[in-house]
Symmetry: C2
Subunit: 216 residues, 2 copies
């Protein structure tokens, strides 16, 4: 076993400020001290991939960015939609991790219905595939449209309200479905509020990336 | 975030030699340097819980052992059957991890049929629950009855043969279903041989335990 592993992380949004872009990587390095994370953004998408059309249009570029990393042990696509993850798997010979499939897989451990809590109108594909009939979807938090809304008190309250509704609907765990939820750091307070396990996307992708490093 | 977490680990077999009993814990501490693991065994089961009857008989004692740990962040039942995990969850107020549900959850990430490879005639319950119709079971490796058989060349060959059969039957990942496979250290060589992800039970339980520590 090596003492230090290196992950490449792709942000599927164009963020010119490297410190801002690097927040997911820093969250992972803080939690997994023997991993270092190098972050790269795609270009031309300042508002991120907020629709399926944009996601599909960006796939070739995401694959190119994936191929541009040097000497990494594992590659992370830091988005709950797992954009381009299948395509990257065919293009590189290292393990590829998406936030969405990581969250959904961890949520399976709890042996219960899983509430999906994101900010899009649709449930991201990996959640549908992995959680299947055990998934509970009650739409998105009221008034929350972009990840910036998660930084406002009204946004946080709306997220808390939806989490309680998911619990009332029978969820035994909550799978967060937007990496902006990690940046906003809502998982721990939601877990306290609901008494349920709440799966944080950036922690989840970091965990699965670390697992792949351990398995080398 | 704390710098060091403490896990309690229960071996559901009676092993008088503390060094031998502690091997799962040492494997976890090696992979997760900021976790320490304290190991305890149940008493009166020198051959482990090799049948469902023995497993059921041991539940009250496993719960007692679980309750006897002091100042731990997370509790691990180091067995693919997850014996007494539901009962312990009702008896303690910290997260409880079983090897079986951890392996099965991680295997879900790969979005494919999962081959289960253990040494018992039946597939452990957590694998059935979490993998459902995506599970492939072709029985146990020929001539392998106890974990000691995994230390023999003939046993390793039988495990490799079964792994290839699972691949031929459509498995896109292999979920090991006995923690003795971790002690024998077969996961990496099986992954190389088959070209598939092979989920190691002790690594998996350590990973999920670490995740729970991070989520505190």
């Amino acid at each position: 076993m090596k003492n230090c592993y290196k992950a490449g992380l792709i942000r599927v949004i164009t963020i010119p400020d490297a410190e801002v872009a690097g927040i997911h990587g820093r969250l992972i390095m803080e939690k997994f001290p023997n991993m270092t994370v190098e972050t790269k953004c795609i270009s031309g998408y300042p508002e991120g991939l907020y629709s399926i059309e944009l996601k599909n249009a960006a796939i070739p570029q995401i694959v190119e960015v994936a191929q541009s990393f040097k000497d990494i042990d594992v590659l992370i696509v830091s988005c709950a939609e797992d954009p381009a993850v299948p395509e990257i798997k065919n293009a590189v010979d290292i393990p590829v991790i998406g936030a969405g499939s990581s969250v959904a897989a961890i949520a399976r451990r709890f042996g219960s219905k899983v509430g999906v809590l994101g900010i899009t109108d649709h449930v991201p594909q990996p959640y549908l595939e992995i959680l299947g009939k055990d998934l509970i979807d009650l739409g998105r938090p009221e008034g929350v449209v972009t990840t910036l809304d998660l930084m406002k008190e009204s946004g946080v309250k709306a997220v808390e309200k939806l989490a309680m509704m998911l619990k009332d609907a029978g969820a035994g765990a909550i799978a967060l479905a937007c990496t902006g939820m990690s940046t906003a750091g809502v998982a721990k307070s939601l877990a306290k509020k609901t008494g349920l396990p709440v799966i944080d996307p950036v922690t989840a992708e970091g965990l699965m990336a670390y697992y792949e490093c351990l398995s080398k």
